[in-house]
Amino acid sequence: MRKLKVLCLVLLISILTVSCTQVENGYDAQGFAMGTVITQHIFSANAEKITGKVLDKIKQLEKIMTINAPGSEVDFLNASAGNGKWVKLDPEIIYVMKKALDFGARSNGAFDITVGPLVKAWGIFTDHPKIPSPAALVQLKKLINYKDLSIDESTSSARLRLKGQIVDLGGIAKGYAGDVAKEIYLKNGVTSAYISLGGNIVALGSKPDGTPWNVGIQNPRLPNGKYLAVIPVQNKSVVTSGDYERFFMKNNIRYHHILDTKTGYPSDSGLISTSIISDLSIDGDALSTSTFVLGLEKGMALIESLPGVEAIFITKDKKIYVTSGLKDIITFTDDGKEFTYVEKR
């Protein structure tokens, strides 16, 4: 009998040792959802199952929140715009919309999820983007006002005031999905992982050796993957908005995907890239767009009003501004010295 016990113990040790070696290098998974590529890197003995669970969840969120394919819950909300009826929505949509309205108010409308009619007019996220006529933009701008979205949490429902208004969660849904992914990791006992949702990064814990994750910040004027700075992070979200992500050129003018609801045109605030480091990725997603539209001064003021949030702003004249919490940990890797670093406050 005792021999059996000893053998069992030895077997147990050997199984643990083997599974540890499998976990050692981490597991990579890639998939497509929310109109972008999702990359996961996790350390777990159940990595394949957990990354699959996360991708499925993101696809489910896309299904209920998208306005780029028919039949989502947000589509029902938009279709009822102006008819006075409350539309029952998934509590996750209600949460995301409440957050969006909060950032709408904080950014004085620079972040506005009722931007839908403008997004449609510009053909953003289609293969055929176009420049709407100034007259059309004047009309469409009348439909843009986040204050026209009413939410009733007690019944998990919402409504839009005017016919033709369109809620578009494209500027915040990926951030929320990143937070949900992190929850799934934690629920499954994962303590070390990161996920990238089209460049929105959520880093869980640190690397298995205890050192922070090193997140590169995309060089806005070089091909994808070329970075100009590195920041070490643990348990943080890093979200970047840039004019290089989705854009088209016409007559030498760059038309990008971040629209300024005040003008109806792609934002021209002087910023070409904003990165937000925060605890929640939903905050980072909303704030990267908000600050991109607000510009350097107002954007910095907004970030400074929020505790625990840091930012990196890059201007059109190739200057990099960072908040005080980053200045000691950020490393610049811009070998060409094309960009200048300006210490900010």
């Binding site: 000893v6 030895v10 990579d28 590529v37 990359t39 293969d127 997140v215 994808n224 992500e245």
Partner: protein
């Protein structure tokens, strides 16, 4: 108390495990310098994989879907050579040659990547 035989058995098994562990680590470290495997993935399915260090003659691989990608594979490197997608982000990404490099054609849901981890960073925010 354990009998003498038990002790020998335990020691023998532990030695075996330790040996296997060391051996696998040794193999991995040896591989690290040479091995450079690349993958072409479309619609979340592996299309082809290569050991880039063993490619002798350049090869073009065509991946079709909603659009068409031509992927060039050479010794030690891989890239999107041509695509008829609207944004051309994949082609503009250029050559991949370091561990962890990745290029994506979103419209055609095609990914090419070099397996492994980049040296200085874990992931890029864009």
């Amino acid at each position: 108390m354990l009998k003498k035989g038990d002790v020998i058995l335990v020691i023998a098994v532990i030695a075996l495990i330790a040996g296997a562990f060391l051996f696998s680590n040794l193999m991995r470290n040896q591989d690290a310098g040479k091995d450079k495997s690349a993958e072409i993935i479309q619609n979340e399915t592996l299309v082809r994989s290569f050991d880039l260090s063993k490619v002798t003659t350049p090869e073009d691989i065509t991946v079709t879907g909603k659009y068409r990608n031509v992927i060039r594979v050479e010794q030690g490197r891989i890239r999107f050579l041509e695509a008829n997608c609207p944004d051309q982000v994949c082609v503009k990404t250029g050559w991949l040659q370091n561990n962890g490099d990745i290029a994506v054609c979103l419209p055609n849901r095609t990914i090419i990547k070099i397996i492994g981890k980049a040296e200085n960073i874990d992931i890029v925010s864009y």
